[in-house]
Structure formats: C-alpha cells, structure tokens
Symmetry: C2
Subunit: 340 residues, 2 copies
C-alpha cells in the first residue's frame, strides 16, 4: 500500500458510503485526497461520513456530469477511484435518463478526459454484480453472461465496456470491480436506495419489523465496507489489475431469513416478516446470487476478512451512536423502498 | 405483408440508404409513411433517395435526439422502423459523445416515448453484427458473446438491451435485427462512412484502384438492400418476432479480394490493391465475419434472394446512371475513409 503515500488521489462519490471509507484509509496511507461529490439528496452522500477527517482532504461539491470541472481534477491526480453513481435499481426504471447521464454519459466523459489529459492515471471503477442479471449458475464468476434485468444493470455493463475498451485501444490503466452487497458504517439507512440492508439497520433501530420479499430463502453474499476498500486499494495499485474485471464476494452465503434472524439476535431487538414482492420489484428481481471471487483472490491476494457477525455488530454499534446523522430530510417515498 | 396496407408507419433515417428503400416498399404496400430524417451531411441521408416518391410520404427534417418532436410522431403511428443511427466505427472513436447521443440516449428516449404514449406500436430496431466484436466462432449465431471492439459496437449493444428490456418489463412489441454489410442502390458512396463497399463503388466508377486492408483474405457476408427490407417488414409484422433478436446474413461468404475481383470483372473496369491497415483501423478490426441466419429463416421464413453477382450488377447500373446525385459537398477527410 506504499503506492499511495504522497500520491494524489481523486475519489468521486467521496462523501458517500464506500468513497468516504476509502478516503479515510487513503489519508492514513499518506495520500493527498481530493473528493468530488454532488451531495444529491437521494444518493449515498452524507457530510457526516467525513466529519472526523474533513480538514485532511480537499472537498469539491461537483457532479461527475460536469465535464469541464472533471477535466481539471483528472489532470491533477495519479489515481481515480470512480465511485459516484446512481445505484437504485427501481430508480433506474422510473428515471432511466438520469441513470444514463450518470452511469453512462459521465463515465465516457471521464475516460475521454483521462485519455486526453492524463493517460497515465490509474482508474478503478466500481461496478456491480447486477450486470449479470439472473444467475444462470452459482457461484457467478466473471465469465458469466452479462444479461442485466434492469436499466441500472444495462448502464453499468455499458460503462464497464468503456473501461475495457479504453484500456485495450488507448492503453489506459483501468480496473473494474463488480461489487456485491456492501454494508457497514456510513451506508445510507433512511431507505433502501443504496442497499436494502441499510433500511434493515434503520428498522432494527426503530424496532419496526424488517420486511423480506417473497419466502426469504433468496441467498446473497455481503462484504463489509473495509474489505471492499481493501479490494479498491489493491485494484488501483497492482499492475496485474490493469485492464481486468474482478468480482468481489464472500465465503459466507446466507438467506435473507437467516440474515434478518442474525441481525435480530445480535442486536437483541426487532423482528422480521415475509411479505409479497411488490410488482415493480418482482419484475427485476434476480433470485439467488453469490459470486465467485477466486480471480481477485488469486491475482491480487484479496480476501474478505470481516465475518458477517463481526461486521453486522460493528455496523449496529455505529448506527446506535450516530443514528440521527443518517436520517436526512430527503428520503424516497415508501413505494420505492424496495431495493434488493 | 397485408399488415401494412393503410397502416401508419414511422421510419427514422427514412432518407437514408435502407430507410428510403423501406419507405418506397411500404408506399407500394399501401402504408401511410412518415419519414423522420436529420439530413446530417456525414451520415447516410440523401434526398435523391426518395425523389421518385416523395409526394407519397410525409417528410420531417427532425433529429431522433429531439425527444418532444419524436413523442408526437410516436403517438401517431402503428409501426416504427428505427434506422436512424451513427454508423461509422472510426467516427464513434473520434466522437464517442455524438455516437452515444444518437445510438444510446435517443434510443432510450424513443422507447420511453413508446411506453408512455403508444405502448401498442410495433418497433423494429436496426442493430449490427458489430456488437459481436471479433468472432470466437463462425458462422456467428445470436448466442455468440457480445464483445464489441469499438464505441459504436458498445452503444448498439446497449440499445439492443433497451429494446429487449422494454419488451420484457413493459410488454412493448420490439424486434432487433443485427444487420451485416448491406449494399445496393441508395447507399452512401462518397466515402466509407456507411460501408466500405460504398466507397468501392465510387472508386470503380472513377476508375481508381480499390484499396483492400491487409492481405484481403478477410471474409464477409453481404445483403442486397431489398433482402434487408424484406427482413425489416417481416420483423415488424410477425407476432413471432416480438421480443426477438435476429441475425441477417447470406449463404454467399466471400473474401475481400474475391469481392473486389468480382466487381472489377462485372463492371469491366477498375482495379484493386492490398495496402497495410491504417493504425486506427487495425485496432478495431474484427477479422473474418459471417453470420448464421438460421433463426430468422426458421421463425420468419426470411431468405436472402438476390445473389451477390445480381446485386452488384444492379447497384453498379444504378450508380452509373445516378452517380452525380451521390457526390455531395460533405465528405470525410481521407484519414477517416477506413470503414470495414
């Protein structure tokens, strides 16, 4: 991780959940961190995420769609961790144009900017397991067909193709990580825009029942945020990662029922209940998913280190202490609180 | 083809090569045809393409990127043949943003318009074999991996995903045809922006040598434009086509050397020569390509009817007569005359 000492690092979405944890870690590693964040109210940004180290980073309230501004930032940095995104699946269906602008158009703009102004910058792009769509086999490896079931998945697949192409044609140093469900301190909890697990933490705190769609036997894998940050840092610093796509994932695969039961047990409160799938959610649901992360284990020596029990316990402790900082004015109406 | 009699049909790119031949046929079938075309000088539009029947169609100089205008057209039609596109591969690399606006953003806009204003409209989208990238096996069928080698291919793959998704989620009646090299009267010949074969026709007329990149042993398949129009009409009218993707193709697979030799022989003039690949072209070249079109043969009973010899002869006769109408002021500089 010595690569990052004294290096200049740009993080888009740097006040968001994963971006802020990455920024904190990079500051500790001695990097000069520049954060770009648009603070969009329905996305993952929260200034509280960086309050304990904000004086150590350069903060810019700026949108990745602002090409001219982004050119300036790209020019000045050695690394780009590109985490800014529209992440809501149902949101991408109700407003596909905005999803396209952020997840496609802005990505092309960033790569054009790198190509023209800073072709030596190392770029890590946070993509998603959603590009696979409904798994044809499990665990899903990187060769699984790309058949997304929603607009967000289509757009993330498109931008992944850009990152690969700009590597192949122009020799840009790019790496794509396909994140699975990521959780931990700093995630959006007021609704399920970022990950359903955020909403679950909130409901647990409020002692309201956690709703599980369907029979609750859908299986998922989860990464604690610091494990995800490990992967991002490796992807940006290892030559072997250049031009590659890697799944993240976990050895612990768990049904939603068992996950909810675990959370109730660990926190000593709350409850959960199975409810029918909302219509607009069922159409794009992918069923069971868990990923094969052997490629990144083999090539970059990444392993998730934090067990689900430990990660959930830490996260609940965090929100017990900082709950009020994560209940913002802006939240989505109930009918969109439906992410899985 | 009785479906089209008295029906209202919208054709985007209707003054272009394929669009104009489709419009002519639909007029003969008794349809009320509305043409939308932006007449962009470096694209395929040419008013001469419709001069013999322009009084029989409604013509609108409009761009598919103009969402509000397109809403009005979508509302009023029973069929949409969506042929407007940026088709140049090298052009997509030099100006990826425009390619995205036309081939991605406008397509999403059109589908949103159909969903909101006319969900019963039947939509046929002209895609391209370029979405496959460099073939992993031959002939390439519809299950071949989608691994485009250029921005244009990425964008066409993205829009294909939109058409499939809007069928699956919203029940829109969409069909995607993956066209291979299409040639015939009405194609752009002043440069190779639309297809290299256009430029070859021009060079033949001008008795200049036809340049072939590499050793000329690359094999390709070709469809005469009227065969392509047959496929479009079937795709729009057959229920079985709903939600499907089909390759077009030809039983005649031919190397570029043999193709050039055939053209020289049939026309009784001209010559050809092999030259090294231009750099920017080699990077995105796909080698041999020919498609498996058995799915559309089986399901829609489509077969290409015009032999290569017959099609080339008809096309050369057409340009011998109408050459001057196809040499427009606007043409791309030599360094972009490099499409294959």
């Amino acid at each position: 991780m010595m690569h990052y000492n004294k290096s200049r690092v740009l993080i888009t979405g740097g006040m968001g959940f994963i971006g802020s944890r990455l920024a904190r870690r990079l500051v500790h590693l001695g990097a000069k961190v520049t954060i770009v964040d648009n603070l969009l109210p329905l996305h993952g940004s929260n200034p509280f995420n960086i309050q304990d180290f904000e004086s150590a980073v350069s903060i810019n309230i700026c949108d990745v769609r602002e090409q001219q501004a982004m050119n300036r930032f790209i020019k000045k940095n050695d690394f780009l961790f590109n985490l800014a995104a529209q992440t809501s699946h149902t949101g991408s269906m109700t407003d596909p144009t905005t999803d396209m602008a952020i997840n496609v158009s802005a990505q092309l703009g960033l790569l054009e900017s790198c190509r023209k102004w800073n072709p030596r910058i190392r770029v890590v792009y946070a993509s998603t397991r959603q590009v696979y769509g409904k798994p044809q086999y499990l665990p899903v490896d990187e060769n699984h067909p790309i058949q997304p079931t929603d607009i967000n998945g289509i757009h993330k697949a498109t931008s992944e193709s850009y990152y690969a192409l700009y590597h192949t044609i122009y020799g840009l140093h790019t790496c794509v990580l396909r994140l699975t469900n990521t959780y931990g301190p700093g995630m959006r909890i007021q609704d399920a825009q970022q990950c359903f697990l955020g909403l679950w933490f909130r409901l647990l705190m409020e002692q309201k029942p956690i709703p599980i769609f369907g029979d609750g036997e859908q299986r998922r894998d989860f990464n604690y945020v610091e494990d995800c940050v490990d992967a991002l840092l490796l992807a940006g610093s290892r030559d072997k990662a250049n031009g590659k796509v890697y799944n993240l994932g976990s050895r612990e695969v768990i049904s939603l029922n068992r996950l909810a039961a675990t959370m109730v047990k660990l926190s000593g409160r709350g409850s959960y209940e199975c409810i029918p799938f909302p219509d607009e959610r069922k159409q794009i649901d992918i069923g069971d998913y868990y990923g094969d992360f052997s490629r990144i284990s083999r090539e970059l020596k990444w392993q998730p280190k934090v067990t689900l029990d430990a990660g959930l316990t830490k996260t609940m402790a965090y929100y017990q202490r900082h709950f009020r900082h994560y209940l913002m004015r802006h939240s989505v109406p109930d009918d969109r609180v439906t992410e899985l």
